[in-house]
Subunit: 203 residues, 4 copies
DNA sequence: TATGAATGAGCTTTCATTCAT
DNA sequence: CATGAATGAAAGCTCATTCAT
């Protein structure tokens, strides 16, 4: 019985988080009112406060969801092509730039980032999932280094960090340049990956 | 006389923008109240409204200032070492990561980024200076391509874009990882730059 | 349930309008603050804004109420004495001059009048009820003309207009002359009404 | 020399009052800012405060001016036709309804009226000039009564009051009905004046 | 649990007035 | 006398949160 009740609560929470995420994407955290969220979730104000202690609580939960999604995408993209996991990242992520949610979600991420620096609770959840994302990259990097495909002298954590940085930096630019040349960007990225490939001397 | 008057007005505006920037860095745009800005600028509320039409106006001005600063840093860094302008970027920018303002300012940039997607006026000022920053990079890239140092097949605008992306992505990570290994990050970047260097075949 | 809900809302609206009217009479529209109204209505600021979109909205509603009251008085006064409806108007309205609300309400009407010339929303509601008031007068005037009591050559709408004008003009004077001789004023009015009576030749 | 200075001050005061009156007509007393008045008068804020102690002071002066104008018009209209001074009033005042300033000025009068009930200083100036206007009417009324043209049994002050009331009431209606039938209104007025004329029995 | 009316602190902005120049 | 930058009280309005039903 508590099993059922718990599942019910979880479903409601997810319903609220999803609604909130849509609102946040559209209007930002601060300009989204609790009423906006309630309306979007088809719930009354009181109901929402049964599942979350405060608006900040909803923001934090939304942030974790946002990061969880990114981490998931990274790990599945890296796992999809064991032969060339890093190259596959570029092939998987760049086309996303044309999805309508791309900018919408990017803006939420950057909003979260700036909130994080003020609210430790948000930062906490954020970092946890960012850690997970990085871990999902470090592993294939190490594997490729062992296989002699990547320059073994480079710190695998740093490589993973640069990859994430390039991705987030691309999202950042994309916010301002909807017409950005994603393919050109991808070509430069691929060329750069060659720069961290193992050469004869470094093998 | 109008010369003096105008200079006076400019000085006051700068005083307000600087104060506002500090507040924004500390509390974010929305949580910063106009009164906070006034207090930080040592001015009365009415005085501030003599120089700016609204809080949004101050945000927009702050945003332009933020971008102008970045563009300036990029152009001066690229100009400092004509032999290796791109490599110099890494050498100039990475050490900044340890400055106390690094995270503080990064957070403002990302806040601005997310505001931009909602407020066209902010986006306008932002994009203008982002354009300038990119232009300052495209030029040395082209020069290096002509000199046969960089792979001429790559689109110079895309190269510039990736460089900016890496920088902003690094700032992003730095917000969450104060302990991030900047040197390791730099090493990977340098290795990557080698990936876009001209090789014999492409020369 | 919606029946009850609706009735509840209407009751609250009336509560607010009444409180607002008292404030407006005492201090005028502009000098009455929303907080004044809230205090007078024994409600919090937020509560009031649950029932009205803005202060102007409250003013408009108050204005309609004000006009509605006048129209109602006119129509009931005219209906009370079918033999001499116009004469009855004088008999009914003049004694009101001694009521304490007389000046208080007059001032609201004139304030509304001047607001109307600027705010179309207020003017709209105002005119609608003024129309109704005039209509309530035109009908008895026409009836008296048919009965041969009033000069049939006069435009009944103009007669109604003059009657309203005399009433409002009297209120106007009363604002400045609390000691005005209402009976003398009434005598002159009655004499004037004789001037628009049908004479042998016009019968 | 003080003569000249005094004349200069008077000229400036009039300049300000006129500008203020235009502003008040357009936006109402409360929504007119001191800056509006200064701009309309082509003077700096400080300059205006050299001639008036406060905004209320300007309003009061404007009000006296407004009433002075009406009193002047009444007295000159009544004096113009010694044979039929009252009839002449109708002939002079009704055509004014088509002047563009008619409604504009009416609104100021009603605004003043409602301010008067709150501000004794305004009321004071207002009443003084209203007294003058009434006096200018009482005299010809008395004269006509002596000549046996008007019913001598009526209180001349009340007659004057009704005349002013009709005029102000007409202005009031005109605010809401730009299309009001002024001629019809005039005909009714003339018929009414006949009602207060002396008849054989009352002569 | 669900509801949504009520709360009131706190926000941005305006504006009458002062006063150093 | 003229100027207009500076002041700061106070305005209208919003919104996170509570709580009786």
């Amino acid at each position: 019985m508590p099993q059922v009740r718990e599942a019910y609560r979880e479903a409601r929470r997810k319903q609220i988080i999803d609604a909130a995420y849509r609102c946040f994407a559209e209007k930002g955290f601060q300009k989204t009112t609790v009423r906006d969220i309630c309306k979007a979730a088809n719930l009354s104000v009181g109901a929402v406060y049964n599942y979350f202690r405060s608006k900040d609580d909803i923001i934090a939960a939304s942030g974790e969801e946002d990061q969880r999604r990114i981490a998931e995408m990274i790990s599945s993209a890296a796992a999809a092509d064991p032969e060339d996991p890093l190259g596959n990242l570029v092939r998987v992520f760049l086309p996303l730039a044309n999805e309508p949610e791309f900018v919408r979600d990017a803006v939420v991420t950057f909003d979260l980032c700036s909130q994080s620096s003020r609210d430790p609770e948000i930062a906490e959840g954020f970092r946890k999932t960012l850690d997970a994302a990085l871990d999902h990259l470090v592993e294939p990097v190490k594997r490729q280094q062992k296989r002699g495909v990547l320059n073994a002298k480079l710190d695998p954590y740093s490589v993973a960090a640069v990859l994430v940085a390039v991705y987030q930096g691309f999202r950042y630019l994309r916010v301002f340049y909807p017409e950005i040349d994603a393919d050109g960007f991808g070509s430069v990225c691929e060329a750069m990956v060659r720069g961290i490939s193992a050469t004869k001397g470094e093998r």
